[in-house]
Subunit: 247 residues, 2 copies
Amino acid sequence: MAAYDFTSTRLFVDDALAEGAEVALGDSQANYVRNVMRMAAGDGLLLFNGRDGEWGARIAEVAKKRVVLVAERRLREQTPPGRLRYLFAPLKHARLDYMVQKAVEMGASRLSPVITRRTQAARVNLDRMRANAVEAAEQCGVLAIPEVDEPAPLARVLDGWPEGDALIFCDEDAGAGDPLVPLVALRGRPVAVLIGPEGGFDPEERAALLRSPSIVRLTLGPRILRADTAAVAALALVQAVAGDWRV
Amino acid sequence: MAAYDFTSTRLFVDDALAEGAEVALGDSQANYVRNVMRMAAGDGLLLFNGRDGEWGARIAEVAKKRVVLVAERRLREQTPPGRLRYLFAPLKHARLDYMVQKAVEMGASRLSPVITRRTQAARVNLDRMRANAVEAAEQCGVLAIPEVDEPAPLARVLDGWPEGDALIFCDEDAGAGDPLVPLVALRGRPVAVLIGPEGGFDPEERAALLRSPSIVRLTLGPRILRADTAAVAALALVQAVAGDWRV
């Protein structure tokens, strides 16, 4: 029997997880385990549900239409949800999938599509976003699936902004200096990172952002970054200075 | 006549650039300007060649097989080449394209494919890598195309490592602490960032890396990052702490 290790298949399930709990996989996960991973009774894998931590489990039964697992032991305790929100102007199709995956890897705990004047994508497929978030969470080892918000216009997001939460705005014109200094003051506060559309915010949107008392301006250097690159770069700086990369 | 602004088409050319210099575009760039961008005589665009800075130019002639530009004035002086080398285990196809584009956006000045034991891609198409680097440079506004090295085995890279150059190794086991502290000591030094293959380095490779006197270990947090995510994250931290994001 294989041990549970970092190469293990890792699945998100809805069921409660406890010692001896049986989990019957749904069609698509059962198909994955049986036909893609070609796993058999006795093989080990990892389960998490966002509530009970991460569990080592073993396959008890593989039938034609049915895969049953038994949870054996808790390997990691559930941790409190992160407080890193990622707000972004949705891109189209594959690039949006990619952006969601990256944000989850970088530890975003809440994904908020924001509609701006230059946003490319008129509609957002939330089911697809959530499926991408689940897949990324399974692969990168986080213990909870990020919350996925309905898309909202930028003005409404700013109007309802929670006092005390920092809103990081990646601003080409943030000016000179050490880009990390503004982030040091965010330690211990809930933080959100806002990434605009490919064409940038329009001047009125930019002015509204700069008027918000919660805004923290962050510079990402002298080159023009694509939205998905800017997202990973900004989240890396936040995590390294004020987030869970500091231990 | 349109002014040159950040929305301008921006092209890399081989020709010398000086006031009044005529530049005849090659087939593929001529096709792009004429048929994709639908530009006409009198339209402005930006040119750079990696030596003479960035120039505002104007289209003098658009014929069926021929587009001629005239350089008008220098808008940015050539800057000295960066000293940020990016070493990476090549991925396959589209993901390699993506990785090269991201590295250029993040300011890498030299791209070095490194063959490791778990490297997925056996061959590397250097022409394709270079074409991707040119395209990314055109879009993100850098003034020079990064150098592209032939692939080399990791052991040879380590054996010939230039004394004094720091080699940043993104190490899951780098341990606790502030991830930025080791980077502060790199200010002013040539820096390289090494990103391993998706399965990580094998134990012998890892031991060889840790024995190198040039190694600087960097932690990228508690989650498992894909190689392209890790690359952007590591380059962001380096640029922000010791690179050209500090002004």
